[in-house]
Amino acid sequence: MAPLLEGFAHVLTPVPFLLVLLGTFLGILGGAIPGITGAMIIALTLPLTFNMDPGNALSLLIGMYVGAISGGLITATLMRMPGTPAAVMTTFDGYPMARSGRPGRALGLGIAASFVGGIISWVFLVLVSEPLSVLATRFGPFEYFTLVVMAMVLIASVSQGSMVKGLLSGALGMLIAMPGVDPAAGGFPRLTWDVLYLNGGLGLLPVLIGVFAVSQLIADIVDIERKVERTKFSTKGILMSLKDWKDQAWNMIRSSVIGTWIGILPGIGANIGSIVAYTTAKNMSKTPEKFGTGYDGGIVASESANNATVGGALIPLIAMGIPGSVIDAILIGALMIHAIQPGPTLFINNPEIVYAMISACLLANLLMYGIMTSSVGKISQLMFVPRAYVLPPILVFCVIGAFALNNLFFDVWVMLGFGVFGYFLERSKVPLGPFVIGFVLAPIAEAKLRSGLMMTAGDFSPIFTRPLPLIFVLISIMLLVWPFYQQWRQSRKG
């Protein structure tokens, strides 16, 4: 408990406090402006943190993470357009309610639910991450390898669209991670085709900025003529009544717990969390037909769950060094850029950073509630800023960001190349999430498997004879086979 209090004392000092405040505010703006996603704004901010103290850098980025997931609800409610992918489910009930003349109430429900989701998942973050990290320090290479394989299968199988496309995307990400330094023989570059610049591989940051920011910019530019539907705005009902709190309490708690657990599962995050919580709320409701027509319970389920995934997804990141969501993959990059080794030893070697992250997460949720309830009206005006003014400066930031880490112009070409690549993937309905997770996790999986095989002199059997690896492999196989089995059963029925 003492280190946690120290963490709080730290984030309440002026510089970290202002950084969390700034991060949360910018995150909300990013979430609220259509065409700017949380992943994009965080990938773009990362280069600005090079010279910061690592704890402060992570506090800023976590503030953005919380803000961006929350800000999406404004656009989802007022424009029927999810500001971030996490807010898709919120459009179903938020927009109809806003259209029927109660926009303040729709936003108020969403803000309060987001806050509760954030707080409940934060409690889990505090309680679960340290014991889990102690368990993970006993993980050998085979345990890690099979865990990472499970994470990769998981994200491919639950991502939007077809599973085959998810697997394809993940495989492409793994392929892109291959050139450069061999993860199991640190000294030797491979697959470089004699291009000196490939000796270090394709950089995490240029690839991330390309795939998340540049591809989105291209999509926005192609789509620049699109007109948006808008509803009138009033702040009436922005603060939830006591009766609402009582009516929604059970729904909030259930959706938050679902969101937290979905967040903990490696690789999948806010959008899946809100889909599962929404579906569960609908199935358990006495009046399921009201969902989708502007119903309180729908907004609450979606928003408490998507915010709960933030705290949940930080658990595997802090305890094991495995990203719980796509944004966490960027946070792992942030740790590595600051020369901090993510993984179970983070609690031992850098406790001050762990507790700064955990404290920043709580502070960001509190600030988010304050900012959103007090100034949601003004923030919503930003949605109508013409994108022609917004996009060019962002592209400039992309170029600076990609160049700054290595001082290599090669990285800028990599970024632009992956921007085009990401745009075409999205257009072909291939999800980008598995691509990034595959790109980040493939080197970990390869290094762990190969060092395990070096230890056993080439013997694969520990994967099947040790309990944890066996469980992870069996879950992976089930996840892979299940969708195909269901398809087969349906086709037999039909």
Partner: protein
């Protein structure tokens, strides 16, 4: 006519004089140092420590600017190799350059640069778990590696500095053979060692000081004298391993053809910086040895180091 010829000759002579790289006034503009590693790494910290000492003590009339080139250290090293040898571009690198050269990763090497100076070095220790009763000293470790070759697991970053140190350690005893396993750098090796996944590894003095309270035992220190911070660890010579020394120095190099004035000029500045209290305190804090060599002595040290690194690097690159 004759008069004109003399004038022309005189003018030409004057022009030639001006064209020869006499840089009495070096430096006339900021001096750039390429650090082919990311900001925050140990080479970058060394560069910035010297930069601060030089600025704070007014040791140079111009600024020293540090350019971090990331990706892989061979990229920044090649940029320095191909830079104009005008005395305003330098490279800060270490032994890894020789590893890449010896392992055939690059087609250039340390001899394609002008040696400027070596400022400080960090040295490695052979380490095991504190509660591992099989090993009382480094001899008992090597004896087991001889009796049961290829069974003791040595955690390393294959092909990198700690792997080469391990090879040099086993080469001290004929017939000794570790099984080198890819683990990574210091922190990863500490975790694997404590978690019983590996039997032994090498750590830098700074890493050892950080981990010794958490269950790591140092068997011998690969430096000619014991470290003041860790007097409990004998040198490898004291432990009976002959002249085994494994240190990683910070090497300041210049592109081939850089004027002598600039090479000596920077060496002078670094030597003065080395004596400042700031540099001395920082080195102590990072448990680095305050070595300083320049000129002929540094060139000889580089040659001697490469004689040891080249065969080790070839051994390390065999898969």
């Amino acid at each position: 006519m004759k008069h004109r010829l003399v004038t022309t000759l005189a003018a030409a002579a004057a022009a030639m004089l001006m064209a020869t790289p006499v840089l009495a006034a070096w430096p006339e503009k900021p001096v750039k140092v390429i650090v082919p590693f990311k900001p925050g790494g140990s080479s970058d910290q060394t560069a910035r420590t010297f930069q601060k000492a030089i600025t704070d003590n007014n040791l140079m009339p111009q600024k020293l600017t540090i350019v971090n080139v990331g990706g892989h250290y061979t990229i920044g090293s090649r940029q320095a190799l191909e830079a104009k040898p005008d005395g305003y571009t330098f490279l800060l690198i270490h032994k890894a350059l020789m590893g890449a050269q010896g392992g055939g990763m690059i087609d250039f090497g340390y001899a394609d640069f002008e040696p400027v100076a070596e400022t400080s070095e960090f040295c490695l220790l052979s380490c095991v778990r504190e509660n591992d009763e099989r090993f009382t000293d480094v001899k008992s470790l090597l004896k087991m590696a001889t009796d049961k070759p290829d069974s003791l697991i040595f955690g390393a970053n294959l092909g990198a500095l700690n792997h080469m140190a391990g090879i040099q350690l086993q080469n001290t005893t004929p017939g000794a053979k570790f099984r080198f396993v890819q683990i990574g750098g210091g922190t990863a090796n500490f975790t694997a060692l404590i978690g019983n996944q590996t039997d032994t590894t090498v750590l830098s003095m700074a890493e050892y000081l950080n981990f010794k309270v958490k269950g790591v035992k140092g068997l011998c220190y690969m430096f000619p004298t014991r470290a003041p911070e860790a007097p409990e660890v004998p040198t490898c010579k004291e432990a009976g391993l002959g002249d085994l020394v494994y240190c990683v120095g910070s090497w300041w190099l210049a592109p081939k053809g850089t004027p002598k004035e600039a090479v000596d000029g920077l060496a002078d500045v670094l030597e003065k910086a080395m004596e400042t209290e700031y540099v001395q305190t920082m080195l102590k804090k990072k448990a680095m040895a305050p070595t300083f060599t320049r000129g002929e002595a540094f060139a000889k040290k580089l040659d001697a180091t490469y004689k040891i690194v080249e065969p080790t690097a070839k051994q390390a690159s065999k898969k």
